[in-house]
Structure formats: structure tokens, C-alpha cells
């Protein structure tokens, strides 16, 4: 094993993980969650048109590969005059993707809150929107932490796909080093270890948040 190469590549890869992979995942996840809440509310709407829009959106996102979504945005849109840089392209694609998957999680979480909680909100004088915000969503948030954490961890790993649209992140750095040194096994295994460390830390964080939220219910 080439220990020197391992040492030389370790920090450059971490650097692109910290400057590329992690912020890409964080920003996309945050935007995706906002979108997901909106889509979940569309799907829960009693107006058929609105719930239909939500359902079609979720269906498209979940029924097509993330890599294809990335390529449509980065390589496809320029042919109709919409050119987006690699980084924002990746953010758009990942946010839309999270928006589809997390919408289903949030919808299920909202439905899991007993009807009596809605009624109690109405009885103390709250409107539908205020009951949703102050009574239902805080309880739904607790239920959705485990599945949403899984969505986030998946996103961290899936962000490696952004290397295919030229985004500087961990896996792209690994590809560059591997190509120039031809030490494919060593470098890709090293990249795998870094992803694994990040995801393990995230799992610990997930446990702690869940324990904290358990206090209330």
C-alpha cells in the first residue's frame, strides 16, 4: 500500500468534502424541506386540483432516477437557452429530489397526529393554518425526524452524483487523484471511508435529536 499517497490525498479529499459535499447536501436539504412542506400540504388539500399537482410532482420525482434529473437540468436545459452553473444545477436537482421524497414523509407525519389535536386547536379558537403551525407541525416534526434523517444521509451519499456535472466535491476529487495516480482501489476505498465517517457522525446526531424530542411525547 502506498502510505505516502494515502497521506497526500487524505486532506485534499476532506477539504472537498467540507467545502463541496457537506454544504451541497445541507443547502439542498434545507431548500428541499421547504419545498416538501409545500408539496405535502398540496397533497393534503381537499381541492382535487391542488392535491393532483402534489401527486404528479411526487410521482415524477420518485419515478425517475436522480442522475437523469441532474442531467436534464445541467445538460438538457441549455438547449432551450437555460444555462445553469454546475453548483446551482446540483442544488436545484437535489432540492427538487428531496422535495419529492420528504413530502411523503411530512404528509404521513401530519396524518399521524390524531384528529383530536386539530379539534382541540379549533376549540381554543385557532384557524386551520394556526392549528397546523402551532399544534400539528411540532408533533409531526417529532415523528418525521428518523425518516428525514435517513433522507439526509442518502442525500450526502447521492451528492457524489454531482461529480458527473463537474461539481467540485469529494468524489470528483477522488476521481481526479485516481486518474492521475492510477491507484483506483486505494483512492476510491479512501473516498468510501470518508463518506462512511460523515454518515456515521450524522447517525449519532440523529440518535441525539430523537432522544431529545422523545421527552415531549
Amino acid at each position: 500500500m502506498d502510505v505516502q499517497l494515502l497521506q497526500d490525498s487524505w486532506w485534499p479529499m476532506w477539504r472537498d468534502a467540507i467545502l463541496g459535499t457537506i454544504p451541497l447536501a445541507l443547502i439542498s436539504f434545507a431548500l428541499g424541506l421547504v419545498l416538501a412542506l409545500g408539496v405535502a400540504l398540496l397533497r393534503l388539500s381537499s381541492r382535487r386540483l391542488l392535491s393532483g399537482i402534489g401527486r404528479v410532482y411526487v410521482s415524477i420525482i420518485r419515478g425517475t432516477p436522480l442522475l437523469v434529473q441532474l442531467f436534464v437540468i445541467f445538460y438538457g436545459l441549455p438547449t432551450i437557452g437555460v444555462t445553469i452553473d454546475p453548483w446551482p444545477s446540483a442544488v436545484v436537482a437535489f432540492s427538487l429530489n428531496v422535495g419529492g421524497y420528504a413530502a411523503e414523509v411530512i404528509r404521513a407525519a401530519i396524518l399521524s397526529v390524531p384528529t383530536g389535536q386539530w379539534e382541540a386547536g379549533y376549540v381554543v379558537g385557532m384557524s386551520h393554518a394556526r392549528t397546523l403551525r402551532r399544534i400539528i407541525l411540532p408533533q409531526a416534526a417529532r415523528v418525521s425526524v428518523p425518516p428525514l434523517s435517513n433522507t439526509f444521509i442518502s442525500l450526502v451519499k447521492d451528492s457524489s452524483l454531482a461529480s458527473l456535472i463537474l461539481v467540485t466535491e469529494l468524489f470528483r476529487k477522488a476521481q481526479e487523484i485516481a486518474a492521475s495516480t492510477t491507484e483506483f482501489l486505494l483512492i476510491y476505498a479512501e473516498a468510501a471511508v470518508i463518506y462512511w465517517i460523515i454518515c456515521t457522525v450524522l447517525s449519532f446526531g440523529q440518535d441525539r435529536i430523537e432522544k431529545k424530542l422523545e421527552q415531549y411525547v
Binding site: 390524531p114 383530536g116 389535536q117 379539534e119 382541540a120 379549533y122 376549540v123 381554543v124 379558537g125 385557532m126 384557524s127 394556526r130 402551532r134 399544534i135 411540532p138 408533533q139 417529532r142 421527552q215 415531549y216 411525547v217
Partner: protein
Amino acid sequence: MSEPLMSARGIHKSFGDNHVLRGVDLDVRPGQVVALIGPSGSGKTTMLRSLNGLEMPDAGTLAFDGGPEIDFSRPVPAAQRFAARDRSAMVFQHHNLFPHKTVLQNVTEGPVQVRKVPRAEAEARATDLLARVGLAEKRDAYPRELSGGQQQRVGIVRALALQPDLLLFDEPTSALDPELVGEVLHVMKSLADEGWTMVVVTHELQFAREVADEVLFLDGGVVAERGAPAQLFTHPREERTKQFLHRILRPLD
């Protein structure tokens, strides 16, 4: 006899093919306690929930003194629905406390968020009310840390904190362990003694007999019999009232 505080006329409600209410009238005068009794499925809970818009009746009218008459056979404007709902407060069978909020926050949520009462004032009033039902020291506890009877007393305080004209109780003791029923009934009796206007759906016939001013016996979606408790419980006129009372009071016969 004073003017009714609330007057419901000809309330009809169906769930699909199930015609649950078939024209129920209910007047409640200020300070009066009305008990709704009857077998399960008789429509008494649906009737109660029609009074604050948790159920929207298919037909009939509802009016509070000084307010407009709501006609349920036409689409009801949201403003009218909210105005009617604000006149009353409900205590649920399964308390429906907010699990993510403390006892104090449960009680102040409505006053602070909806009625815009300053927080300090709402908390002072909530603390007083909690002390009155013997729960002063539980104000910072979460609902799950309380017994069923304590939870239901908080449910009552949450309703009182809204300062409603009318208190609605939906079988407030039927989900409780038997030994916890008394503490809740005591609180309700003291409210009646203080002059609160109450409509109570209940299976506690002794409570209805001692506390109610008027008892309505519902059966099959209609008021089969109504009267003062002394009359209705001791000399029921209707055969089905007799049978119902017999089943409840002497279940082993």
C-alpha cells in the same frame, strides 16, 4: 324565564347513509346545566359537536344571543362559524391536551395566540384556575406526566381560560379509570354551582340527576324525552326511556 343563551332548532346530520340526527331542538338558558343522555349511537355527541361547528349539520339553525342565526341548510360563512365557536369551549372525552406543551402552555395557548391576551395576564389567570382544580403545582408538567383525572381537569381549565359563555362536555369521564371519575365530576359540579352554563353529554346518570337542570334523552337521532331530572329519572313517560334507565341502573337484571 330568561332568553336562551343558545338556541338550536331542527338539527339534522347524516354520515353517508347514517341519519344520525333527525331534527333535534335544544335551548340553553344562561346558568342552566343541560345533560344529554342516551344509548351509544343516539346522536348525543354529534349534537354537542354541532353546537361549536366541529360537525357541520346538514340542516337546522343555531343562534347565540346577540349573534346572527346560522342556517346550516346553506353554506355557512367562515366568519359566522368562528363567531359561534368562540362563544363556547369544549372538554373532550380524550382530553386532547397538546402533548408538546406544558400544562400552563396548554391553558394559555388560546388566550395568548387567539384572544391576544398579554402573556403575563394569561399566565396569572391560568395559574389561578389551575389552583382552583388543585393542580397549581403541575403548571410546568407535561400532560403525559399527569394521571387521567388530572389531564381531564387541565382540559377543563383550558376551556375555562377561554372565558366562554357556554361549556360543552363530551363524555368527560368515560375514558377514565373508575376511581378517577369523582375528581372530575366534583370540578364540574362546582362549575355548575358557580353558575356556568353547561351542556354535558354523559353516562353518569347520578351526576345528571344531581347537577342538571334539564335532561334530554336522545334515541335514534331524536329527543325521545326531555324534562327535569327528578321527573325524568323517577317517572319517565316514554317506554324507551324506562328501558334505557333500567339497562344502565340495573345491568344484571
